[in-house]
Point group: C2
Chain length 199, copies 2
Amino acid sequence: MVQTTDSVTRLVEEFAKLPGIGRKSAERLAYHILRVHESEALALSDAIRTVKQNVRYCSQCFNLAESELCSVCQDSRRDKTLLCIVEQPRDLMAIEQSGMYPGLYHVLLGRIAPLEGIGPDQLTIDALVDRVREGTFREIIMATNPTTEGDGTALHISNLLSELPVTLTRLARGITTGSILEFTNKEILADALSGRQKL
Amino acid sequence: MVQTTDSVTRLVEEFAKLPGIGRKSAERLAYHILRVHESEALALSDAIRTVKQNVRYCSQCFNLAESELCSVCQDSRRDKTLLCIVEQPRDLMAIEQSGMYPGLYHVLLGRIAPLEGIGPDQLTIDALVDRVREGTFREIIMATNPTTEGDGTALHISNLLSELPVTLTRLARGITTGSILEFTNKEILADALSGRQKL
């Protein structure tokens, strides 16, 4: 932007660094900030600062936390014999939102992606193996994403844990509720057939 | 978001207040902030704060400024006999980016929009009339948006200024460079015909 003020230019540049925000959107956001009441703009500014200063990873499961342990690990009502392995904190949130899972989690903070140079060492797999070795879990549910990399990560972890006395399961795959068979692809149908359940 | 930390929830809520940012995008942005280096997140936080604290309206033309006068009004090389009237600072930036306009501006900070309850009093029209009355301008170019409201605003202003010894013009209307006649609508063709220029 020509002839605008330095601070506006800087704000546009910072907004444009956000994912999914192009130059035009960044300008629109900057003008929005200029237009709104000071308290609203400062609320956003402070929220960003606070998150960066307060949020860290749970020392036990690597979920997002504002203290040593996250809210799930702190909750005494959770079933401590069940562990669900997810890639990211946002996967954990998605499962929590379903309200169907009573156990604990372990967040890998990524997935094994050789093409991006991400190996098992960059994930929280060592900490996971240590947790499982303690022997408190009876079942471990793999909830990595149903992608090549997610499946590969799950396979790697199941190999590591295969010696330990724990049941390994993974999320059911099949057709999705509300979908239409005709428009379902063959991989999904193959999953649905091979995993068919009793009525 | 269930079970996430309070600061993350707050950040998602603040992002979701921005125009064009829905709930899902706000969550994505919040996770981006969590992932990036602290310095990058704080740069955005500070840029928002700085803009709110430093940027105000130019006391002469109501463009965005970081001091009493904006960079255009401060520039001694500008033609002080030419005035261009725009609705918003972003319109001014667009004209500046064309690099074709040597004069000064007056930013209305809106347009007359009776349906939204915006009348002439909420714009900077009084200040505009005072500026024009000083008699330094030989030409005033109306560059409000080519919409019903923009045209209405231009008409209102031209009525106010009609008594003063100054030439009023407006931006040329016609077909746009690069467009295809076949796909041009009849209003644009009518503008292009009535405003036809000598080759």
